[in-house]
């Protein structure tokens, strides 16, 4: 029996949306308040969904301790209380929540092998969230 397991985690970080490829005026009109040169922050909620057969011995898709440990180490410790614009993955790409969601997906996809990664969903605020399921997969 295949089940999907989702876990939510919280981290706080700051960012500024600004593209070197655009003029000041274009940046202003594209990013509005988010273009403030001093940056601003969010409490992000990252929701990770993995799937796989439910192990008959443990009743689990994967051990939550493994998933929690991985996300703590590789995602929360990396991004928590950081200014995203200063990180190497955002030197070229603007740290929008879309791009951050893709980065987190790639980290989990590369390093977590106890279950199949279905989706990463990232809430920037209670009112907006973004999902990424890999390049060719449609979200279930």
């Amino acid at each position: 029996m295949k089940a999907h397991l989702s876990r939510r985690y919280l981290f706080s970080a700051s960012h500024r949306l600004h593209s070197e490829a655009m003029s000041e005026a274009e940046n202003q009109s594209t990013y509005g308040k988010c273009n403030n040169p001093h940056g601003h922050g969010h409490n992000y909620i990252v929701e990770v969904t993995v799937s796989g057969p439910v192990d008959e011995q443990t009743g689990m898709v994967c051990n939550l301790t493994d998933l929690d440990g991985f996300i703590e180490r590789e995602v929360l410790a990396r991004y928590g209380h950081e200014n995203l614009n200063t990180m190497k993955e955002f030197i070229k790409d603007v740290p929008t929540t879309e791009n951050l969601c893709i980065q987190i997906y790639e980290i989990v996809q590369r390093g977590f092998h106890s279950a199949h990664l279905e989706r990463v969903r990232l809430e920037e605020t209670m009112m907006n969230s973004f999902e990424y399921s890999g390049k060719s997969e449609a979200p279930k």
């Binding site: 089940a3 876990r7 689990m60």
Partner: protein, 136 residues
């Protein structure tokens, strides 16, 4: 096709233990959840059904029937119960959130009259939930 979701809550206790494992293995794999006296959660259940909208009633499913089935098959059985000891499915299976979602699917799937069961989602806490789509 339209999808309709109904939520319900139930509170129950459980613990994780596999008699095939040694006490050390049980503690290592299941951690705090291995406490044999059990511990509890407020579970939130979301049942999603799918179907065409009936042109006469405008319904995908008779909500009252769905509510009655959820009550009879799930809430009356599991609410305020010790899942390991009182639910037959968990006599020989560990009542993890994964297995609870599967057990609820199996209890509901054959009992719905018009709509087809699409997804069973069980929240153990607001930060942990399992989806089961009936996949083998």
């Amino acid at each position: 096709m339209v999808y309709l979701t109904r939520k319900a809550e139930f509170s129950a206790s459980h613990y994780y233990h596999n008699p095939a494992f040694t006490p050390e293995e049980n503690r290592r794999i299941f951690g705090k959840c291995n406490n044999p006296n059990g511990h509890g959660h407020n579970y939130t259940l979301e049942v999603t059904v799918k179907g065409e909208v009936d042109p006469l009633s405008g319904f995908v499913v008779d909500l009252k029937q769905l509510k009655d089935v959820m009550h009879r098959e799930v809430l009356d059985a599991m609410d305020h119960r010790f899942l390991n000891k009182e639910i037959p499915e968990f006599a020989h299976q560990i009542p993890t959130t994964e297995n609870i979602a599967i057990a609820i699917w199996q209890r509901l799937a054959t009992k719905l009259e018009r709509a087809k069961l699409y997804r069973v989602r069980v929240y153990e806490t607001p930060d942990l939930f399992v989806d089961f789509y009936g996949e083998a």
